[in-house]
């Protein structure tokens, strides 16, 4: 269980210049095994929020309680899938996937088992000995995902992980992620600016407003049954919820004009 309590965050200013505020008084609860998407205009602090959940940034005020304890540092139980390509180019696919287990001192036997399992899960069987430079962008994301999954975190934090992929690959990765999540029941916090992606993936969507509009967070429950396939994107109900989300996102736009 993730409880975000009265959270504020400001970036510090450089050399005496005033910093700027990104998040103000945010309250949010994310339950275990939930798939939550955070969506919002650029600059609304959604990536910053994810960094705080991971422990890379510390809140300026308020706190984040994770399973009863305040988050103070980075921990492998909260794994991050980065927006950029984070696969280590100097390690072969197998060694990349094994990395977390190895640095944590998991015995070799167990490591091998996990690595094989998750390489297969993400559909990279046969590429174990490839160098990352030999893989496409989509395949590298799979390696990244397998590396995180093999490390067996409780929560996976994803920062627009499919943002750099082409539409086809993206859809395929979304479908696979949903399948993996349905099979493993982990908590996933997924930041995106793609409404369809959020609707297809999430149990609930958090629409985060820009701080200049108050920075409020509104939650939309996504009503679609699981297991889901991409077909639901054609469902009229899907389009209706989509419409509502768009309107919520654009709530403040007219006032700006």
């Amino acid at each position: 269980m993730l409880k975000i309590e009265n959270l504020s965050f400001s970036y510090e200013g450089n050399k005496g210049k005033p910093g700027y505020e990104v998040i103000r008084n945010l309250e949010l609860t994310i339950g275990d095994n939930e798939f939550v998407c955070i969506i919002g205009p650029s600059g609304c602090g959604k990536s910053t929020l994810l960094k705080m959940l991971a422990g890379f940034e510390k809140p300026s005020e308020g706190k984040i309680i994770y399973n009863g304890q305040e988050i103070k540092s980075v921990g492998y139980e909260r794994a991050m899938v980065f927006q950029e390509d984070a696969v280590f180019p100097w390690l072969r696919v197998r060694d990349n996937v094994e990395y977390g287990l190895k640095v944590r001192g998991v015995p070799a036997e167990t490591r091998k088992e996990h690595v094989n399992k998750f390489i297969e899960t993400v559909g990279l069987k046969g590429f174990e000995n490839a160098w990352p430079k030999e893989l496409s962008g989509g395949m590298k994301k799979r390696v990244d995902l397998a590396r995180v999954l093999a490390n067996n975190p409780e929560t996976i934090l994803m920062d627009e992980p499919f943002g750099a992929l082409d539409a086809m690959t993206k859809e395929m990765m979304q479908e696979e992620l949903v399948k993996i999540w349905e099979g493993s029941k982990k908590t996933i916090v997924f930041v995106t600016h793609d409404i369809e992606e959020a609707l297809f993936l999430a149990d609930k969507i958090v629409v985060l407003q820009h701080i200049k509009n108050g920075g409020e967070a509104e939650v939309i429950e996504v009503p679609f049954e699981r297991p889901r396939t991409v077909k639901i994107k054609e469902n009229p109900e899907f389009q209706k919820v989509r419409r509502r989300t768009v309107e919520l996102l654009k709530k403040y736009e007219r006032e700006e004009e």
Binding site: V74, Y76, R78, F82, W90, Y99, V103
Partner: protein, 254 residues
Amino acid sequence: MSAAKNISRKLLLTAVFFIIWTGVISVFQIRPIYLPGPEDIINSFIAMRASLPSSILSSLRITLSGFLIGAVIGVGMGLLMAYSRTFMNIVGPFMEFTRPIPIFAMIPLFMIWFGLGLWPQILLVALGVSTVLGVQTYEAVRNIPSVYINASYNLGAKKSVMFKTVICPYIVPHLIGAIRVAAGTSWGLDVAAEFMGVQSGLGYTMIVRQMYLDTPAIIAVVLIYSVLAIILDQIIRLIERRLTRWTEREKMSF
């Protein structure tokens, strides 16, 4: 390009070079003291054949040990400076102050401090190599994309493990260029060091032959130096190819 074509082209270029060389000497009537012909240089090799092996060995000892000691110290210092802010705060200003000092200006001091013999020479080469590589290593570490460091911590690595598994492999390809330059420089440092204070070696041979105005012998020694430098460079490139198979670097084609 096929290998046979490549070799024949190189042979042709070599032939052209020799024709121009001997041609210039005979057309302009240049005396061997200024520019000796190929046969003068070959004769020098033959005349020096008894002393050459020990000279080469002596110079190799200075250059290679200096280069290796300097590389280990330089890369180690660079890594330590990046690893520990405290270390950086202590050593950084000192490095800033000493780096601009011309290395050759240290030769007389080194002789006073470390006496005659091989050590002042070796240390001079080591100092030159380590200052170059210390700075380069530090810069290479600073340029690492933060996403790799964050990913490593996020997967459960401690700082020391992150350094070993992320920073060290990442900087290798970025250091190879600097290491090759440093290796080249170490030959130059060896020559300069030998001009000052040893009784054997290739640089010493050059100084002695210069007193006799023996230009062919000097050129012969220069040729030996360049062959040694090329061999060392090739060895480094061989190691580079093994260590950096993962990089995207392709053969240059533009």
